[in-house]
């Protein structure tokens, strides 16, 4: 096999190029991909991933649950299962959703291979090339390639501290209607959004489901973090507000148990669910029976909520550590969100800084984040970055943010030297001016901004 590969000439490759579907041409820049690959170097403190901390799950528990599953269900665990998932697993899903106040029926659930598969299946089921998908600006970076691989036209709606701006959504829907284009679905992460960290307010949730109903549009509610709330009152899911007529709900075990088991789910109106089911059959027949049984065995223990509580405590501390570190180390020109849950903080720098370039400089100090551009389908987001606080310990968070703060300050000082403005310089006063309006600035303008004032120190950030 490898011999053949080495003989491939550029002409052969051109021959293959002629066979590739046109949708494969939508690819991320290879330079950006290469840069992201370096963030995985072991000596790099990576605030770039979206990883839960699986080290908190006791190895003995994993061994015990697996042994019990094998003893009780060996042959089933090794066998194919139904496409829609095992009943025992669906019972667990009903329980998880009930913990967020959402009542669903077992038969409305499709068990999937991670939440990502739901995004893929929804696109597969609903999207023809050129169709519009409405998403938040910024949106989940992992959804962008899924949308573009189905050749969707992604239209992104600005957010503020209360989540997606529904007024802008309505204007956009009107404009699209005038153009004779009807979006197939609205993609939203209402709680502790990835990457922005903000949460959609209750009035906006109500208005969104009302809009979907009025206009007969589907909403894809992506809710991986809803149970990871560290403060404030829980809000109802869109699915529970709507009753499930126009909302497709996406859930996952990745953030409350393990992403390694690759199990998520969709809850959808029956006709949509049937199509999703057919799509899934074609993709992978069924999700792993072994991990589905692992989940049901684990839930039978009745300890999942204890584990969830321990995760909440851990991540709350890490979030606070990161917020403190940001207040201490980021310059006054920077702003960032203050999430009440989830895994991410979104920071915005002056518009003359490009966070892809900043990442290169940060990598030379062995620290990494996700450049904001990854969260937009249209090239915006260049001066923002996503920081994850769940995947690394508090010492690394502090040190990582300190290093990022250092490179940001260097870049700002250099820009000041180049323009003769010295923003942030001692007493110059120019630094107090917020950066000029820019695409994506909405988020920064409306959110609580944790700018460090004279003498302000860590404790003030809480």
């Amino acid at each position: 096999m490898s011999r053949d590969r080495s003989r491939a000439t550029s002409r052969d490759l051109e021959r293959y190029a002629g066979l590739f579907a046109s949708r494969t041409k939508v690819m991320k820049s290879s330079a950006m991909r290469d840069l992201m690959a370096i963030t995985e170097r072991p000596d790099v403190i990576s605030l770039a991933g979206g990883l839960p901390d699986t080290s908190t799950f006791a190895a003995e528990s994993l061994a015990a649950i697996t042994a019990k599953m094998a003893a009780e269900n060996a042959s089933r665990a090794l066998q194919y299962g139904p496409t829609d998932g095992l009943d025992a697993t669906k019972e667990c899903i009903v329980e998880v959703m009930a913990a967020e106040g959402t009542t669903v029926d077992r038969q409305d659930i499709l068990v999937t291979t991670g939440g990502q598969q739901v995004i893929d299946l929804v696109c597969k089921t609903l999207v023809d090339p050129g169709d519009v998908i409405v998403a938040e600006a910024p949106t989940y970076p992992g959804a962008v390639p899924a949308f573009t691989s189905y050749e969707a036209d992604v239209v992104q709606i600005a957010m503020d501290a209360d989540g997606m701006r529904i007024d802008e959504l309505e204007e956009t829907l009107d404009r699209l209607e005038d153009e004779g284009r009807r979006p197939k679905f609205i993609y939203t992460i209402p709680s502790f959004q990835n990457p922005a960290g903000v949460t959609m307010s209750l009035p906006r949730r109500r208005r969104l489901v009302q809009l979907a109903r009025e206009r007969e549009l589907l909403v894809l509610e992506d809710n991986p973090y809803g149970l990871l709330r560290y403060e404030g009152e829980p809000l109802p899911t869109l699915h529970s507000l709507d009753g499930g007529d126009f909302v497709i709900y996406l859930g996952t075990f990745s953030k409350i148990l393990s992403p390694g088991i690759r199990l998520g789910w969709a809850v959808a109106p029956v006709p949509v669910l049937e199509k999703l089911n057919l799509g899934k059959q074609a993709t992978d027949l069924c999700s792993s029976t072994m991990t589905q049984l692992f989940v049901s065995t684990y839930f039978a223990h009745d300890r999942w909520e204890d584990y969830l509580r321990s995760l909440r405590d851990l991540y709350r501390r890490r979030r606070d550590t990161m917020l403190d570190a940001l207040a201490e180390h980021l310059p006054p020109e920077a702003s960032w969100t203050r999430p009440q849950g989830g895994l991410f903080i979104w920071a915005t720098l002056p518009d003359y800084l490009d966070t892809t370039d900043l990442l290169a400089r940060a990598l030379s100090r062995n620290v990494a984040f996700v450049p904001g551009r990854a969260a937009y389908a249209d090239g915006r987001g260049a001066s923002s970055l996503r920081l994850n606080f769940s995947g690394v310990g508090e010492d690394d968070i502090r040190e990582g943010v300190r290093r990022i703060g250092a490179v940001v300050r260097e870049q700002i000082a250099l820009y000041g030297t180049l323009t003769g403005t010295q923003p942030g310089g001692a007493g110059a006063g120019a630094g107090a001016e917020p950066p000029a309006a820019q695409p994506g600035a909405e988020l920064a303008d409306v959110l609580e901004l944790h700018r460090r004032r004279e003498g302000e120190r860590r404790s003030d950030a809480r």
Binding site: R7, A8, T9, A37, D354, L363, L418, T419
Partner: protein, 318 residues
């Protein structure tokens, strides 16, 4: 049978490209019947090389450390013959500013430029000279890091307002940055093997991506034509310039020289030379060699032969 250590990966920003180049080279060497040891370059490089004791090292590294003479210096200390240019050739190619000065001094046409370190701006007030520079170069100006191999950090400044942010971007990758007159025209690359020029490759970016360097380096967004559709005279001039640059910078074995063919004037300008051009599926050197009837295996075999041949200091063929 020759034992070949393929050095790949490393810590540079071009690590991924290097891993792809290295994997492909390993396959070719194995197919040629060599004993191949792949080494992902890291802290244990010297120990790995001592333990492997290769007859020759194939340096498939790109960017910092691998392409700037650092690894080559180590290989010389260890007495291991290696592919491609030696320490001095690598150093001259890796630093675009040094390469451009050498070219200018030797009368080889290269776009007008000015280069500064961050210190010049911070300590010496170089910002005050920007106006004069902008006047002399005229917009759009290309701003690039002096020692970054890929498209990262390269910007077009279309007006004076774009310059500071472009400089900040470029300084993210390098301590020295150059501002260069933008030559509008066709992009050409001449690869060289043993000092001899291979057929010219032309890179044709899609119209809308012209000012977006990262898009231009994305598969499917730039197409390559080889041999480039040029007149014989232009082809010969481009190849002669490439040969001159190869010799001038002291390259050895193989290299790639990038040029611009200016629209209107028909003049050729050399942008830079790459001591270790990419060897991946889509890289330009393998395409050019292929057009000359040299398949990938033969190309890799020849590069190894050149490394093992008694090496004259000059750039003439071994």
């Amino acid at each position: 049978m020759t034992r070949v250590a393929v050095l790949k990966g490393g810590r540079s920003l071009e690590r991924q490209v290097s891993l792809r180049s290295g994997a492909r080279v390993e396959d070719a060497l194995a197919a040629l019947g060599h004993e191949v040891v792949g080494i992902d370059v890291g802290h244990d490089l010297v120990a790995r090389l001592r333990e492997t004791a290769p007859d020759v090292a194939f340096v498939a590294l790109h960017g910092r450390d691998g392409e700037d003479g650092t690894v080559q210096e180590l290989l010389e200390v260890l007495g291991i013959p290696f592919t491609g240019s030696g320490v001095s050739g690598c150093m001259r190619c890796a630093d675009k500013v040094i390469a451009k000065h050498a070219m200018r001094d030797a009368g080889i046409p290269t776009p007008e430029f000015y280069a500064f370190t961050e210190t010049a701006f911070k300590e010496l007030g170089a910002a005050d000279a920007l106006g004069a520079i902008e006047e002399r170069l005229a917009f759009p100006i290309v701003v690039k890091p002096s020692d970054q191999g890929s498209a990262l950090g390269i910007r077009f400044a279309r007006s004076a307002a774009d310059v500071p942010a472009a400089l900040v971007a470029a300084f993210s990758y390098s301590e020295r940055v150059l501002l260069e007159r933008h030559v509008h025209g066709r992009e050409l690359a001449v690869s060289l093997l043993a000092g001899e020029a291979l057929p010219v490759v032309e890179a044709v970016p899609r119209e809308e991506d012209f000012y977006d360097f990262s898009a231009r380096y994305t598969i499917g967004r730039t197409s390559f034509v080889c041999p480039a559709q040029l007149g014989d005279e232009t082809t010969e001039r481009a190849q002669a310039l490439a040969r001159d640059v190869f010799a001038l910078l002291g390259c050895r074995g193989f290299a790639r020289v990038d040029l611009m063919l200016e629209e209107g004037t028909g003049e050729l300008f050399v942008l830079e030379a790459n001591a270790i051009p990419g060897l991946t599926e889509t890289s330009l050197l393998p395409q050019a060699a292929d057009a000359a009837g040299i398949g990938f295996e033969a190309l890799v075999g020849r590069i190894v032969e050149l490394a093992l041949a008694p090496a004259p200091a000059s750039a003439s063929s071994a």
